[in-house]
């Protein structure tokens, strides 16, 4: 990365939150993802009880605040101090926070990956080539959302980055591995879902009794490891 990163922008979001936005040429870029979480960590480390735990997105961090204690200008000023310090500290701090690697043994195709054949046809590849491409990448958790423990992983090789299904499934089994555009994810289970399903893992990505309950927390590195059925 060359030059100083642009200063994050802060805009009000209703009467209980502000949205911190970072310019990104590529939201899947690992350095960009790290910047987002460096900013979120700096806000969290303020330990200000008037601010909520920040919620990272693809190019932003949403920070809730107590409207009884702060107005949006005060909330923005408070957050700005943390952001400026984090931007100044820069990428030097990132190496110290190198995230763990999680390997997910995954059964591809068949009833575990009902969309694999269609996905391969759409990509003009063999099923085996799709599997190899999907398993060739070390992914990074960009952010979570959709459902508890549902982590958006960056980035799927462009050759297999197919759009989501026209009609979502009403219920997706736990551990299903899906693709939507440049992202892949593991479904925690019990939700509807519109991503193209190419396989399934037995690893549980969400357990409310575990600490932390989500296996794939932000910045975690993830590898899918093909296994036989």
């Amino acid at each position: 990365m060359t030059g100083a990163p642009a200063r994050p922008r802060i805009v009000p979001f209703g009467d209980t939150a502000i949205l911190v936005t970072v310019d990104a040429t590529d939201e899947h870029d690992v350095a960009h993802i790290r910047t987002i979480h460096r900013l979120a960590a700096a806000i969290r480390e303020l330990g200000d009880p008037r601010l909520d735990n920040p919620v990272p997105g693809a190019t932003s961090v949403l920070v809730g605040y107590d409207p009884r204690a702060l107005d949006p200008t005060e909330a923005a000023a408070r957050v700005r101090t943390a952001l400026d310090a984090a931007v100044a500290a820069g990428e030097a701090t990132d190496e110290r926070r190198r995230a763990p690697l999680v390997e997910l043994p995954t059964r591809y195709g068949g009833s575990d990956g009902p969309d694999l054949a269609e996905l391969a046809a759409a990509a003009g590849l063999s099923e085996q080539a799709v599997i190899e491409l999907h398993a060739s990448v070390e992914y990074v958790v960009a952010f979570l959302g959709f459902a508890p423990g549902f982590a958006y992983l960056s980035a799927v090789p462009p050759a297999i980055g197919v759009p989501r299904r026209a009609t979502p499934r009403e219920r997706v089994p736990a551990g299903s591995v899906g693709i939507a555009d440049r992202r892949t994810a593991v479904y925690p289970g019990g939700t509807p879902g519109g991503w193209q399903l190419l396989g399934r893992t037995d690893v549980s990505v969400w357990d409310a009794r575990r600490e932390p309950p989500a296996l794939l927390v932000p910045e975690t590195r993830v590898r899918f490891v093909p296994v036989g059925r």
Binding site: G14, D52, L144, P148
Partner: protein, 336 residues
């Protein structure tokens, strides 16, 4: 469950879950805020029993819930009138009051009476329901299948206990300022909004504010679809996903806005047209399919004043309940 059984579920109705003040602080792991969709209705049910305003209570949606008392109990009712009735004696359970029931009584919420408004009723017991605390809350998280009773809606056979020692302690009270958050007549509900964070949504916002909308059939704890004209597109259809809040009004590419409620997913990628102010969440939480709703733009200062007003209303209700309980104690001491 270690606590004494108080209520048994005979029919869970359309959707009944345990809800409290929600589960803040876990959005970064994909966990919805959760909690009662009408926080004022929850507070009323609890304050009638002198519980904390966000103690875990039952949130019954639209009707169908039938319970049987396993022991004598005092129940607080808040939120919308879903036609609550005690059987066999036929006493009505109107919201805004507490009611003593006897062991064996059936407590039923068949559905809103004719002309009734609102869709969610709250039923509290002394001390709050005894449910496990998961990630800091007793609320049922349907998307994650945890919290409340096994992370799912109530169904027949479930048995609920309370945290307090004597579920029948206390006196029947009535709260004067217990009006449900639903509008009292056929007039459209009015929800105050602030502009969204993206200037490109300005034309869509102008159109949102100009119309009277109707709540669509797709309405649940996550959000409500609005039926009305198609709004103009507001920039690229797939924006980078960002955090969203309860009250966020999103515009998917089909031009039909969605208002997010308590169980909304914590991140979303649709353009945000406007954000409802937090003080008006109880109004959103009582909208039911077919209801008319209008959105009016307000200011940050007015939103803060509305938060203060809601806090004062809550404090006044707590004081009124404390006074009522004190007068009752004096009455008993006097030997009446």
């Amino acid at each position: 469950m270690s606590s004494r059984p108080i209520l048994e579920v005979l029919d869970g109705g359309i959707l009944t879950t345990v809800q409290d003040g929600g589960r803040p602080g876990w959005g970064h792991l994909g966990v919805p805020l959760g909690g009662a969709c009408d926080p004022w209705g929850l507070a009323v049910a609890n304050l009638l029993l002198r519980n904390p305003p966000t103690a875990p209570a039952l949130e019954a949606t639209a009707g169908g819930l039938v319970l049987r008392a396993r022991s004598p109990a005092l129940l607080g009712i808040g939120g919308a009138d879903l036609g609550g009735v005690v059987r066999p004696d036929g006493r009505r359970l109107a919201p805004g009051a507490s009611y003593r029931v006897a062991a064996g009584d059936e407590i039923a919420f068949p559905g809103p009476p004719a002309g009734g408004r609102g869709v969610r009723t709250y039923l509290a017991v002394s001390g709050g329901f005894d449910v496990p605390v998961a990630l800091g809350s007793g609320s049922t998280c349907l998307a994650g299948a945890f919290g409340g009773v096994d992370g799912r809606p109530l169904r027949d056979g479930d048995v609920l206990g309370a945290l307090a020692g004597d579920p029948a302690a206390g006196v029947e009270l009535r709260l004067v300022d217990a009006a449900a958050s639903a509008p009292p007549s056929d007039a459209p509900a009015v929800v105050r909004v602030l502009p969204g964070p993206d200037e490109r949504t300005r034309p869509a916002r102008a159109a949102l504010l100009a119309e009277t909308w109707h709540v669509g059939a797709e309405a649940d704890r996550m959000g409500i679809r609005l039926d009305g004209p198609t709004l103009p597109s507001a920039g690229p259809p797939d924006l980078p996903s960002h955090g969203v809040t309860w009250g966020t009004i999103q515009l998917p590419s089909d031009g039909r806005p969605i208002v997010l409620l308590a169980d909304a997913q914590p991140t979303g990628g649709y353009p945000v047209v406007a954000v409802a102010i937090s003080a008006d969440r109880p109004i959103l939480g009582q909208l039911r399919p077919g209801d008319a709703v209008r959105f009016v733009e307000t200011t940050g200062e007015a939103a803060r004043a509305a938060v203060r007003h809601a806090d004062e209303r809550l404090r006044a209700a707590m004081d009124a309940m404390a006074d009522a309980a004190r007068w009752d104690a004096l009455w008993h001491e006097a030997g009446a």
